[in-house]
Structure formats: C-alpha cells, structure tokens
C-alpha cells in the first residue's frame, strides 16, 4: 500500500502546473488519501477537447495518480466556470 497523497499536495501541484484560477479537491477516500475528485478551472483549457484537457491534468499529476486508487476530474475554462456559477 502507498502512503497516500495529501489533499494539499494535490491541490498545490495542480495549481502550480496548470496555472489554475480555481482548484477544488475533494477527498473521497474517507481519509486514507487514495481517492479524490477534483475540479480545475484554468485558461490553459481554452480551445481544447475534453480528452486534451484531461490529458493535461493527467500529465500534471502523473506520479500522484499512479499512487491513487481513484481519481475523477472536471475541467473548465474560466468562462465556462463563470457560466456554471451563474446557473
């Protein structure tokens, strides 16, 4: 078993590597640090397909994902995020 990845570490790494405006990390593991849901808002996602966006994220936290059991992501551009928040 891996030691697990902390929520803070994951959040910081995503912020740094994707120059994200907003990162939300939800620990769904019940505290063992092996399962996360993340929401990422960044302008680097502009003009990319969902697959391309997810690949960017996967690449940014490649070593972390390898140690997790579950990793789920939602990716938005700043414009999409604003639209979503207004709903």
């Amino acid at each position: 078993m891996s030691a697990g990845i902390t929520k803070e570490h994951l959040e910081q790494t995503l912020r740094d590597k994707l120059s994200a405006d907003h990162v939300e990390v939800i620990d769904t593991s019940g505290g063992c640090g092996q399962s996360y849901d993340v929401v990422i808002v960044s302008s680097v996602f502009e003009g990319k397909t969902v697959l391309q966006k997810h690949r960017l994220v996967n690449d940014a936290v490649k070593t972390e994902i390898a140690q997790l059991h579950a990793f789920s992501q939602k990716t938005y551009t700043p414009a999409q995020w604003v639209e979503l928040s207004n709903k």
């Binding site: 697959l51 690949r55 994902i65 579950a70």
Partner: protein, 114 residues
C-alpha cells in the same frame, strides 16, 4: 526511446484488439460483475445508450497484471476503465459521463453506426 515497459507482443495484441472491435472497454471485472464503481458506470452508460454489450469487447485488467500496467502505457492514460471506439481512444469514466450528459456520446455512437 528512453524507457519502455510495454512488450512488443502486448502492444501488437492491443493494436489488433482496438482495431478489430468496434468498441473496446478495458475494465476492472466483467460487465456482469464489475469490480469497481467507475467500471460499472461505463457499462451502465453503454446500457443507457442502448449499445449491445455483446458487441463490446471487454478486457478484465484484474485478471492480467501485464495488461493492467501495459494498457496505461499504451493509451497514455493513467487509470482504468478505458474506452476505445473504432480504434480511437475516447477516454475514461469522467469523459464518458461527460459525453453521455452532453449528448456527444450518442452522436458519436450514431455516427459510427453503433
């Protein structure tokens, strides 16, 4: 090539598998007995879309360690499940769910005659 773990024979097998089958699903468990919620979700999405599961080639990565590690490298995708449609990598559970909700999946399946 600096670092390559996937064997040539496995790569060839995977190439053939995704080319020969319209839909390929790498998953944990089987469609009847999924061993992980993410894999189950993808099976349920196919069912909701009315895809004939007998036409979906499923491979259980829990039965084959080499496959489990190899498919991640093959797709350059770090997690399972993984979906291929007509030889093209579509994505994992999040993307499938996303496409299911947006209607893109239905469109793709119709376009591909599935």
């Amino acid at each position: 090539i600096l670092c390559r773990y996937i064997s040539d024979s496995l790569k060839k097998t995977l190439d053939e598998t995704v080319q020969k089958n319209d839909v390929v699903l790498f998953m944990k468990g089987t469609p009847e007995i999924p061993q992980c919620g993410f894999s189950r979700a993808v099976v349920q999405i196919f069912q909701a879309q009315g895809v004939d599961l007998s036409k979906v080639k499923t491979l259980n990565v829990l039965e084959d360690h080499e496959l489990r590690e190899g498919v991640k490298e093959y797709s350059q995708w770090p997690t399972v499940p993984q979906v291929y449609i007509k030889g093209e990598f579509i994505g994992g559970c999040d993307i499938m769910l996303n496409m299911h909700q947006s209607g893109d999946l239905e469109e793709l399946l119709l376009k591909q005659g599935l």
